[in-house]
Symmetry: C2
Subunit: 314 residues, 2 copies
């Protein structure tokens, strides 16, 4: 029970970026984004002790750092590189909001990123490894004083094409892999997500989250399966960061509750989906940064109303 | 209460066809298909009194008629045209099973189809109008002695392009419209399904079911929304008829329970999804025709396990 009294700490590692985004609804120039940004902000609604490890350039706005501070996110591990620029991504979404064109990618500080976990964060209880080069993800894991209770990682098809062996090594080391449906198929050469999930769990992870964008997410564990839809919305204003907000809300909820039962994992999927449903309502972090707990609870109630039904099988 | 004692009757109108189907898993030549076939078989697990109105040619196999008889489906309204051939469709599915190419369509008896509702079926309590020319759907509705308790119709983009006014007239006359997501968008010029649903319900239907194939189905009524996923399966062997099995299971469950509350509509969506999940496991009607009630209950339990979670918002 002592563990339940002491607050669990969550270390999130990934990108903190500047994004220029075009959607059918408008444009935003050089706004704050990046996977670790969304992880940390989403998780901050559930977990009081979040440590961020990432890198930005001199061009990163003070306002960005203030957003982290407002949510009590520890940025001791956020390197700020003098005379360099932050990782920059520019993209344009199509009308269906599920497909996008990358207009520009400037790695900048990310090219030479050497993640350093501050001494005080090397005992973190939970670890979220964002979509980075697998060798960098490993470098972070190796800096921990002891293995965290739960290690979750995200990845993408790019690493399947360019760093297969490192990727397989990392996948074998984590407890939870999160990946989208197309990537799960590419990773396993299986079209059926059920078969793909079985193969991926044989690679190491005890838990697998397959993200299907506007079509929700599947949680796999042993022979158990849970599905949560994405909340149907009037408008999806900007999908950027939705998957990362989902992942951050998911591991943030697990960290805050310190309960790894499958029933609690289900709840984590719902809370992650709820935060993600806010993320897409405005550009970048604007909506989640201003989110209030009561709005989150109302949104979770919407998920309950959306999927719950009452069938009595006698 | 008298209504609850007497069995409700369900009239289903649509195609009874011969299909030749190619999937990545195999081929089947001239097997029994058609929307009304799937409606009637799926509904027969919930409703004891089903009347079928459709048309076939001399080439329709005895075995097909026997399948209906085995499920106690009344085929008095199934016209058999001497010297003519049944409606024939041939298609090939792509590996993703969501897209298919039509290889051949022969209207045959369907070209001159004049649906005649037998006198004994003109008092049917529930009516399912399959995807036919809207003027034919109206012809059926006009033959009823009184308006059924619930009229549900399916349609497709083809009628939006070729019979818009008749389609709008029919949509204004029904209680439940079932349509797929792309068609809902085409019908309303709205990309957001929430906005599209609102517009469609303004056209007349009190209830709307938007089918999203492997991504489940949405039920709309007033400001209420319910979502049911499709059950993730090891293999989707043949998707043909899944949407019609869903619709048949849905209205069959409503007919069998004679309860039009939204909570019961949710149950109908789940039972419809359960029957559809069997339909895709084999070619044509093979799986559903051999389905047992206990298998159906087990499948519904899988849906419960798939989506139910326990969050206590205090």
């Amino acid at each position: 029970m002592a563990q339940n009294i002491r607050h669990m700490s969550l270390l999130v590692v990934g990108t903190v970026a500047l994004d220029s985004i075009e959607t059918p609804f408008g444009k935003a120039e050089r706004i704050i984004g990046g996977s670790a940004t969304h992880f940390a902000l989403a998780a901050s609604f559930f977990c009081p002790d979040i440590r961020l490890v990432s890198v930005v350039g001199e061009d990163f706005p003070q306002n960005g750092l203030q957003q982290f501070a407002r949510r009590n996110i520890n940025t001791e591990g956020l390197q700020i590189k003098k005379g360099e620029n932050s990782f920059f991504w520019a993209g344009r979404y199509h009308i269906d909001m599920n497909s996008r064109d990358t207009l520009d990618t400037q790695l900048n500080v990310l090219a030479g990123f050497d993640p350093i976990v501050p001494e005080a964060s090397r005992n973190a209880d939970f670890l979220m490894l964002g979509n980075l080069m697998p060798s960098l993800q490993r470098k972070v894991l190796q800096q921990m004083n002891q293995r965290p209770k739960l290690v979750m990682m995200d990845t993408m098809n790019f690493w399947m094409d360019t760093a297969w062996d490192d990727l397989m090594d990392m996948i074998s080391r984590v407890d939870v892999l999160t990946i989208n449906d197309e990537e799960a198929r590419q990773l396993t050469k299986e079209y059926s997500l059920i078969k793909a999930a079985r193969k991926i769990m044989q690679m190491g992870p005890r838990f697998l989250v397959i993200k299907k964008g506007e079509n929700g997410a599947l949680l796999f564990h042993e022979n158990k399966l849970f599905f949560a839809p994405a909340l149907p919305l009037e408008e999806v204003f900007d999908p950027t960061g939705a998957g990362d907000s989902f992942a951050g809300g998911f591991i943030g909820y697990l960290s805050g509750t310190n309960d790894l039962s499958f029933d609690n994992m289900k709840r984590a999927v719902i809370y992650g989906s709820a935060v993600a449903s806010f993320c897409v309502e405005k550009f970048g972090i604007d909506r989640v940064a201003d989110l209030h707990q009561n709005e989150l609870d109302e949104r979770v109630q919407e998920f309950i109303d959306l999927v719950q039904f009452d069938i009595d099988l006698v």
